[in-house]
């Protein structure tokens, strides 16, 4: 084999690149069954069936956004009941910090909602208007 040091260095660099998930986290990758760790929601039903919601809640929120802002519909009826078309509706059943945020952090998802909207994780006092 010729140019041994270079070749070995190259192979090591190649392996190092492949091991990227380990060294960017300093070897700290933990397997987590996220579904066991999330806080249990208070209610029985969600807006739609639970499995659909798990995959499509962002779509629902997008839809709700259009409904509330552009069509002025603030109350909606689904198979499981009647709901306010508002983000605040979620907090009725779900704990923000231990449900929404936890899962979003696990998935490294950054919802854009909180750039403009309040969530219970924010350090504000709230006021309610009837």
């Amino acid at each position: 084999m010729y140019h041994k040091p270079y070749v070995i260095l190259g192979i090591l660099a190649f392996l190092a690149l492949l091991a990227m998930p380990y060294w960017v986290t300093a070897g700290n990758i933990k397997y987590e069954d996220i579904h066991k760790e999330l806080a249990k929601p208070k209610g029985v039903n969600c807006v739609e069936n639970v499995k659909w919601m798990a995959a499509n809640h962002m779509e629902l929120l997008n839809k709700w956004r259009e409904m509330a802002v552009r069509q002025g519909i603030r109350i909606t009826h689904t198979e499981t009941g009647t709901y306010n078309v508002s983000l605040t509706e979620c907090w009725k059943c779900h704990d923000y910090n231990h449900f929404c945020k936890k899962c979003h952090e696990f998935m490294d998802v950054r919802p854009v909602c909180w750039e403009c909207h309040y969530n219970p994780g924010m350090p504000f006092k709230t006021v309610h208007f009837k």
Partner: protein, 260 residues
């Protein structure tokens, strides 16, 4: 030969682009909705406002009319998450004191978004973020607003506010129902649409916050399409003033000047 093919490709590509653009921009469907039954309007009794504001100025010893904060402004700021900043005037309602001559009796006009029937701001909005709902309210869709401020230029009443600063720095209490917003978007009075929509669907008589809190009942809110509503009656019976009527914007906020 190649050049002709290139040319064809170019033409097709540009045609496709235009077609897609068209499909995107004109493809929005309009359906008859609940909202078309309404046309929200507001009548403001200027005499009552004048009295209230002048009283507060006198009682609190305020000279500058911009610093006056009657209950309507306070409630509005709180309900709509309007930041309180020293640098900029963000409140949706702004008071103007006008006199016909220097020594005449002053009149105080609260000016907020006039909810024009032919709104200049909606005409100019690049993204249809500002748009007129079927019930006549001009709403800013913050999810679309790009913060170009063209609407502020076009607005004849200077009724729009731009968030120059990050709002969360200037908020202490938050109403979760209304958006907090972020810096770089435009906001204005929307007749507390989040409130009236909900109240409407619950079957209540909807009222914006300012109308609710006004101790003098100077503000009257209602549906113009309903001939029996209070606003319709006032407009029919008394003379009301429309600001800058000559522009043809036809606002739905009217000022009642000569009290009965």
């Amino acid at each position: 030969m190649i050049s002709r093919r290139k040319f064809l490709v170019l033409v097709t590509a540009s045609a496709a682009t235009i077609a897609t653009g068209k499909a995107l921009s004109f493809g929005e469907k309009r359906t008859e909705s609940e909202l078309s039954k309404y046309k929200w309007a507001m009548v403001i009794d200027v005499d009552k406002c004048t009295k209230c504001v002048l009283d507060i100025m006198k009682k609190e010893g305020i000279d500058d009319i911009e610093k006056v904060r009657p209950p309507c402004i306070k409630a509005c700021d709180l309900a709509n998450n309007v930041p309180q900043s020293d640098k900029y005037y963000y409140s949706f309602i702004r008071f103007y004191m006008v006199k016909e001559t220097e020594d005449a009796k002053p009149l105080v006009f609260p000016v907020m978004c006039q909810e024009c029937e032919h709104p200049a701001c909606v005409e100019v909005c690049l993204t249809k973020a500002s748009y007129k709902r079927e019930d006549g309210i001009i709403v800013i869709d913050l999810h679309r607003c790009i913060g170009c401020r063209y609407c502020m230029i076009a607005c004849p009443y200077n009724a729009r506010r731009f968030l120059w600063e990050p709002p969360e720095e200037h908020l202490k209490v938050v109403n979760p129902e209304a958006p907090i917003r972020k810096h770089g978007v435009v906001m204005k009075c929307e007749f507390c649409d989040w409130k009236i929509d909900k109240e409407r669907s619950e079957g209540k008589e909807p009222k914006p916050v300012c109308v609710e809190v006004c101790p003098h009942k100077a503000l009257v809110f209602g549906n113009l399409k309903d001939p029996n509503s209070e606003v319709s009656k006032i407009i029919k019976t008394s003379k009301v003033l429309t600001l800058r009527a000559y522009l043809g914007t036809n606002p739905k906020v009217k000022y009642k000047l000569w009290g009965d």
